[in-house]
């Protein structure tokens, strides 16, 4: 009988130790995850702050005056003229352009036709 009692006691002690150990490991893992989460949140906040600053920077870089200067300097772009906006049906026929192939080749880079969506 005493052996049975001893065995049960040992079993309980073992059980308690196992549960306690598992609880300890689990808590430890949770704390590590919480620490990791806090770090991730800090990183997110830092990233959001950086993005916020970059948005302001982007806005400044897109200042129309600056873009106009750069466009004029590097790609020879100018304002769109009303005459450049036309219908599809107003596009010159192929033959008309082929009649003046040299002229076309000479000028086609200078003039970009903006075609309106309406036919």
């Amino acid at each position: 009988m005493s052996n049975v009692k001893t065995a049960i006691s040992i079993l309980w002690v073992m059980f308690t130790l196992v549960i306690g150990s598992y609880y300890f490991v689990l808590t430890n893992d949770v704390q590590n995850l919480e620490r990791e989460l806090a770090q991730i949140n800090r990183d997110i906040e830092n990233d959001i702050r950086d993005i916020h600053i970059l948005e302001a920077d982007w806005s400044e870089l897109n200042n129309p005056e600056r873009l106009k200067t750069l466009a004029g300097k590097y790609i020879s772009l100018d304002f769109v003229k009303p005459e450049q906006i036309i219908n599809y049906s107003a596009l010159p026929l192929e033959g008309e352009l082929l009649e003046k192939p040299t002229m076309f080749a000479k000028n086609h880079n200078k003039f970009r036709v903006l075609v309106s969506s309406e036919r």
């Binding site: 808590t27 620490r35 916020h52 302001a56 982007w58 106009k68 009303p82 005459e83 906006i85 596009l91």
Partner: protein, 584 residues
């Protein structure tokens, strides 16, 4: 552990810790009971102590690991967390244009501060700080460092580079405080619309002032109706016009004619919003919403619309403009108008004061006042969000006599702001619906009302289109865009007196007239005669071509298709390829 000692002498059976001695008479080991007891007590004491320590450690481990957890000191986060859980790094909301481009935002910075009571070497610190911050003198720093207070800002909103330099100085008295500063990435492009804030980020002008609470209470971006690209084009043309005509000021407003949303609003001279040290109040003056002035002939648009809508004037009616109109002691005259009977259309085309006055007198005082009230000319402009809004100047109803009725017909005797005029003009041409103007996108706080019939509005479109084709607005007749508009030139009032030779010229227009989408108003304050204008300073020579240039430039941006017929379009294309003539 069983602690049993052998009682047998001269054996080598000893318990751990048992005292072992050599016996005196013979060679061998000897144990004594008393010694064993002492030993047992010592062992038990040590075991007890160890158990106690282990218990304390176990309790502490359980306490730390399972009960309270390890208390990491959490980093103090200064960011504002709105209810929805969105993290935003600043406290004041951004302002963006209608396409979402940021035009005003807060950036995180730091303030440099100290407790002067703890500063022992003020001279040295002041000297080194003045080397880092060139805009603050040594004396200024010294004064701050030797104050009797316990807190003083030495420099606010310093850059990260400056912060690093101050840190490198190694003075523990110098401390940093997280802060924010308002910046305007587009600098002077939206100066009069946005206004700006003081060093504490409190709005002191423009939208920043009028919407201060909104910007501080919500971190959601405030989206404007302004289109930044169009705004740039409008402002750019205004700057050119101001320089060309050596004017004191130039102002323009572009409005969506159907919604009364302000797409562009510029008044030059203006200023870089990031600089807060401007002393000159003149450049901060937003003429578009605060500048109350007599608009001159532009008012003939409203006078004509009133006459037609009232039914008292028919579009084919004629008025005698062969001689000046006498009003008591005063005479109403015309400027370069053919002396003949003029139809309603000709009255606008030639901009006849005499005929307009006759139309107004025929309509009468009561209807005129009621109409002006409907157009919002009696009060400050309603609903508009900017802080700076001018109150119209006019006679009270009691003193609104016949000569007032006559002069207001051509824009004298009543002063309103350009915003009043363009909003009313939009209502006249959009089908007759008046909607208060706004600068805030998706503003649902406005109520529209009908002020004239749709037919009157359609008639006005035709009449004003004729003004641009045949009349004083010729210089704004941009091919393809069917501009309709009216010019106005008024004597400028300085210190309560009309100054001869000084004018304020205006041009108010809408395009395309067959189905108006946008209204544009241009005002040039005191333009000078130049060779190109043959010495003229009237609106048709300065405000009008400026308006034309603006329309020509912004219409493609606004996705307005020019109304060219197909052959003209093909000619345009081929002409650009160097082919001059074609047969279709």
């Amino acid at each position: 552990m069983k602690l049993s000692l052998s009682r047998k002498k001269n054996t080598f059976s000893y318990a751990p810790g048992q005292e072992i001695r050599f016996s005196s008479g013979s060679f061998g080991w000897e144990t004594e009971d008393e010694s064993v007891n002492v030993c047992k007590r010592r062992i038990l004491t040590i075991i007890g102590l160890f158990l106690l320590i282990y218990c304390i450690i176990i309790v502490r481990i359980f306490n730390v690991c399972l009960v309270n957890g390890i208390s990491f000191e959490k980093e103090k986060i200064t960011y504002y967390r709105p209810k929805r859980g969105i993290i935003v790094p600043v406290h004041r909301a951004n302002i963006t244009d209608r396409n979402g481009v940021v035009v005003a935002t807060n950036l995180p910075t730091v303030n440099l501060f100290t407790n002067p009571q703890k500063v022992s070497n003020a001279n040295e610190i002041a000297k080194k700080l003045s080397d880092i911050f060139e805009d603050v003198s040594y004396e200024d720093f010294l004064i701050k460092l030797t104050r009797k207070s316990r807190f003083v800002y030495l420099k606010r909103n310093i850059s990260p580079q400056q912060q690093a330099k101050v840190n490198a100085l190694g003075f523990p008295e110098l401390e940093f405080q997280p802060s924010e500063t308002r910046i305007y990435p587009q600098k002077d492009l939206l100066a009069h619309v946005l206004g700006n804030t003081d060093i504490d980020n409190i709005g002191i002008a423009g939208l920043e002032k009028s919407l201060n609470d909104r910007l501080n209470s919500s971190t959601k971006d405030l989206r404007l109706t302004i289109d930044l690209g169009v705004q740039y084009a409008v402002r750019d043309e205004l700057i050119k016009a101001k320089e060309k005509f050596k004017a004191e000021r130039a102002t323009a407003i572009l409005m969506d004619i159907n919604t009364s949303e302000v797409v562009a609003l510029a008044s030059v001279p203006d200023y870089d919003l990031n600089r807060r040290d401007f002393k000159d109040k003149d450049i901060k003056f937003n003429f578009a919403t605060l500048g109350v002035y007599e608009a001159g002939s532009v008012f003939k648009v409203f006078n004509t619309a009133l006459g037609l809508d009232s039914g008292k004037i028919k579009i084919k009616d004629s008025f005698d403009a062969t001689k000046p109109l006498k009003m008591g002691r005063h005479k109403i005259t015309d400027y370069r108008v053919p002396a003949k009977w003029l139809t309603v259309g000709e009255t606008l085309i030639h901009s006849s004061n005499i005929a307009s006055a006759q139309m107004a007198l025929k309509v009468g005082k009561d209807l005129q006042i009621k109409f002006f009230k409907n157009l919002g000319f009696w009060d400050k402009i309603q609903n508009l969000e900017v802080f700076e809004k001018g109150r119209p100047i006019h006679r009270s109803e009691k003193y609104w006599q016949d000569h007032t009725v006559a002069t207001t017909a051509y824009g004298y005797g009543i002063s309103v702001t350009p915003m009043h005029i363009i909003t009313a003009f939009s209502a006249i041409l959009n089908g007759g619906i008046y909607t208060p103007p706004t600068l805030i996108s998706e503003n649902s706080q406005r109520e529209s009302k009908r002020i004239i019939s749709k037919q009157t509005s359609l008639d006005m479109r035709k009449l004003l289109r004729d003004v641009v084709i045949y009349g004083s607005g010729k210089n704004a007749n941009i091919d393809g865009y069917e501009v309709a508009g009216k010019t106005g030139t008024a004597n400028k009032i300085v210190d309560g007196r009309y100054i001869k030779g000084k004018n304020v010229t205006s041009f108010v227009s809408a395009f395309p007239s067959s189905d108006p989408k946008y209204a544009l108003m241009v005002i040039i304050d005191d333009p000078k005669p130049i060779k190109e204008t043959f010495g003229f300073v009237t609106s048709g020579w300065n405000a009008c071509p400026t308006g034309g240039n603006i329309i020509k430039r912004i219409a493609p941006q606004l996705n307005i298709k020019p109304n060219f017929d197909i052959p003209t379009q093909r000619e345009n294309v081929l002409e650009n390829y160097g082919i001059k003539k074609l047969k279709f």
